[in-house]
């Protein structure tokens, strides 16, 4: 894939690198791009063009999935700024936050045995999305400052965001159980 110089994902979608992007616009552009490069458009083309088409389409799919989700978009922005989080072994050093995580996890476990589990779960999910929103907002502010200290803190926020999203995932699993799908 060396020949296809890896375009910055934001450039690929002609978007300004930012945490706050218009997801509807992203999706529209994504589909326009796929319409232009998808291998189905090259069913009759030469092997070379088909190969390039598959690679481009794969790259666009990857770019879309990275930019479409808050956590991966935030992580990608930090990567562009020189903070590699993808394969890190560094752990979060924030005892307060980790304590809160443990409490939230316990709360989630207790929900199935609550007197009104449905309501308890709805409340829990609302609480989590509040935390997630708060992290997102803080990220926007810190990231815009663009100095090393702020970016280092922003990287911690992405780590926290991952914790929260995982918790939201687990809440969905509890939801499946409670509502007995």
């Amino acid at each position: 894939m060396d020949r296809l110089k890896p375009m910055n994902y934001f450039q690929l979608f002609a978007l300004t690198p930012s945490f706050e992007i218009d997801l509807v616009e992203l999706k529209t552009k994504y589909l326009d791009l796929q319409r232009a490069v998808h291998p189905d458009k090259f069913a009759n083309a030469s092997e070379r063009e088909r190969l390039i088409s598959v690679q481009k389409a794969a790259q666009i799919n990857d770019a879309f999935s990275v930019l479409n989700a808050n956590d991966s978009r935030a992580q990608y922005l930090l990567e562009l700024a020189g903070f590699e989080l993808a394969h890190e072994t560094q752990t979060l050093k924030d005892p307060m936050f980790l304590m809160q995580q443990m409490e939230l996890r316990e709360a989630l476990e207790d929900i199935t045995s609550a007197s009104d589990p449905e309501q308890a779960l709805i409340d829990f999910q609302a609480e989590i999305s509040l935390y997630i929103n708060e992290i997102n907002n803080q990220f926007v502010t810190l990231f815009s400052r663009n100095d090393t200290d702020s970016l280092t803190t922003a990287a911690d926020l992405v780590r926290k965001l991952k914790f929260m999203l995982k918790l939201a995932q687990e809440a969905l699993r509890v939801e499946e159980k409670i509502f007995a799908y």
Binding site: R3, I52, H87
Partner: protein, 621 residues
């Protein structure tokens, strides 16, 4: 002079020539071929006027028989007559024996555990048998369209894994046919109904065939078809309706004498006729000539028949319910229900399905043909005959792909439901000092343990420079194309030393097995084989030339004269090679064209990306 012809702007060698394309429904029980004629998709009929070909292959004393001729031998020469080979595609012998206990075939396993069937023509595998089914269908399309096909679309069940998809594609390629695309059967049915023109929606596809039942839930959003869930029963179909009815007739007739295979076949035929009669009438007359010379006459009402098959229909509804649940949607989210498969003509099936989904069913297209028709429409688009079409089918990976890690666990590299094509890389390291090789085991499936997943391929990366444990960086890259087919490469990249290997897990056969198979498929004499290869290379050469001519016409301005000159030269050389008619010369010239046009192709792709985006911003203004 050829050079002048090429460089003249605005001229192309074959303006708006309609390309020949066909859609093929390679079914478990029956197979069909369809094409688009004057804007309408139609199935093609053989000389006897049939458009469905029983998916049965008989390895006879003299040659190979396919379809109705083969069906006649399904009982008398069962050992040499392969029925419903689709069940065996990409499956291991162990798998098949566990699922189908009483197969009448002499079977053995390939080196990789896949099935071989011993016939009087020697060992055959499911890919070869499938290509025998495709052969008459492709011949029919070629004859009916009046020329060699530019390509075909073949449908596969949505749940088919990599090995099953690869096997299907290889079956066509054994015949030298280009496969534009493998298309999921439920998606094909939805396309036949034109549902891809809708903007958003959830579609249920209920497919009850002769021997199998499949239900799929699809989501369509802005041109993307996503398979949300699939379910069904691989041993439930219209044949089971016939069997129940046959049993009933046998009991009603009061016959207790000898139970010959001929009588059984006769009762089955009467049952099948009665079933079809009951789709249009309330009562079906029954007449059975018994071996004792007497004749039994009776009748069956639709109500009696409905009661007989009710438990089977209920099973399909339960499977549908489960698929809806697996899809994580509410019943009310479903906008359309598409009916596929001959058995959906049975009124009681339609009633039960409509009452479960609580909506009207789409039944206006012949349920036996709907999948082939959808495939034909897609083939026509992919052939380039509908340049204005903006349909885009983005499929998703049906099952997760991963690698074996320590302790017999799988690590997912690409999760299911990822939009394809996709490329993902994962890094691994060595765990022993001085380790110079690493075994890579590729798996497909959702389960955690290796033994519960399907093994797609194994290969070894050798030549890793000896280093301390954990110091080597081995990057394994998975690439899945638009058909859902995988290729994997591995590379050791530390200390600048690189080595890489590329595997195509294919159908799990070893290279030797593949070579033998291809040789076997060539029933040509040596000269014929050369002629065939020359013809294929000539077709490829004209494809390359045509592509470059239109590329230069459209985007020649991306290059200056200095950059264009070598491309034009290579094209001229290729034209000369084709005229000379020498195989090796043509091959080399094609490779040369490819080499000099690499940058041009990349530039063109980048330009179409820019155009796609600028079109967008113009719309915004």
């Amino acid at each position: 002079m050829a050079l002048l012809q090429i460089s003249e702007p605005g001229q192309s060698s074959a303006p708006h020539q309609r390309r020949l394309a066909a859609g093929i429904d390679l079914g478990t029980t029956n197979s069909l071929v369809a094409t688009v004629r004057s804007g309408e998709a139609v199935t093609l009929k053989d000389q006897q006027g049939f458009d469905s070909l029983p998916s049965i292959v008989h390895y006879a004393n003299l040659g190979i028989e396919v379809g109705r001729l083969a069906k006649e031998h399904a009982i008398s020469d069962a050992i040499n007559t392969i029925v419903s080979v689709k069940r065996f595609m990409g499956r291991t012998l162990t798998d098949i024996q566990a699922n189908y206990a009483e197969l009448p075939y002499v079977v053995s396993a390939t080196e990789n555990g896949l099935i071989n069937i011993e016939t009087r023509h020697g060992k055959v595998n499911p890919i070869q048998v499938s290509s025998e089914i495709l052969r008459p269908l492709i011949a029919l399309a070629t004859k009916s369209l009046g020329g060699e096909l530019d390509g075909v679309v073949i449908t596969v069940p949505a749940y088919f894994d990599d090995a099953q998809r690869q096997g299907t594609k290889d079956a066509a390629e054994l015949l030298g046919v280009k496969v534009f695309r493998l298309l999921n059967e439920p998606t094909a049915a939805a396309i036949a109904y034109g549902l891809d023109h809708d903007d958003e929606g959830v579609i249920a596809v209920y497919d009850l065939g002769g021997g199998t039942f499949d239900v799929s839930i699809l989501r369509l959003s802005k041109g993307v078809f996503e398979v949300l869930a699939t379910g069904g029963d691989s041993a439930l179909g219209g044949d089971d309706f016939d069997n129940l009815l046959a049993q009933w007739i046998y009991q009603e007739s009061g016959y207790t004498g000898d139970h010959s295979p001929a009588l059984q076949r006769e009762i089955s035929r009467i049952a099948c006729d009665a079933k079809e009669h009951l789709s249009k009438h309330d009562i079906a007359p029954l007449v059975l000539d018994l071996p004792c010379g007497s004749r039994w006459q009776g009748e069956i009402s639709r109500a009696t028949f409905d009661a007989l098959i009710a438990p089977l229909v209920k099973r399909t509804v339960m499977a549908s319910r489960r698929a809806v649940r697996d899809a994580g949607i509410e019943l009310s989210d479903i906008n359309q229900v598409v009916m596929v498969g001959g058995s959906t003509r049975v009124p009681c099936v339609r009633e039960r399905v409509a009452s479960y989904f609580q909506r009207e069913l789409l039944t206006s297209i012949d349920p036996d043909k709907v999948v082939a028709l959808g495939a034909a429409i897609q083939a026509d688009i992919l052939a380039g005959n509908k340049p204005d079409s903006d349909i885009l089918l983005l499929d998703v990976l049906p099952l997760s792909l991963g690698l074996e890690t320590m302790g017999g666990l799988t690590e997912k590299v690409i999760p299911r439901n990822t939009t394809i094509p996709v490329a993902k890389a994962q890094e691994f390291t060595t765990f022993k000092d001085g380790q110079t090789a690493m075994a890579i085991h590729i798996l497909q499936g959702e389960r955690e343990l290796v033994e519960d997943c399907r093994s797609l391929a194994r290969f070894e990366l050798r030549g890793i420079p000896p280093m301390a444990a954990g110091a080597a960086h081995i990057r394994v890259t998975f690439q899945v194309d638009a058909d859902g087919l995988l290729s994997v490469s591995a590379m050791e990249k530390s200390s600048g030393v690189k080595s890489s290997i590329e595997v195509k897990p294919s159908f799990g056969l070893t290279d030797n097995e593949v070579a033998t198979m291809i040789k076997d498929s060539m029933t040509f004499a040596r000269d014929d084989m050369d002629a065939r290869m020359l013809a294929e290379q000539k077709v490829e050469a004209s494809r390359v030339l045509e592509g470059l001519i239109s590329a230069i016409n459209d985007d020649g301005n991306l290059l200056n004269d200095e950059q264009l000159a070598p491309i034009r030269h290579a094209m001229m050389m290729l034209e000369q090679a084709v005229q000379a008619g020498e195989l090796a010369l043509i091959k080399d010239a094609i490779a040369a064209c490819d080499e000099v046009s690499q940058d041009f192709a990349a530039l063109r792709m980048d330009q179409s990306i820019r155009q796609a985006l600028s079109g967008q911003s113009v719309d915004d203004i």
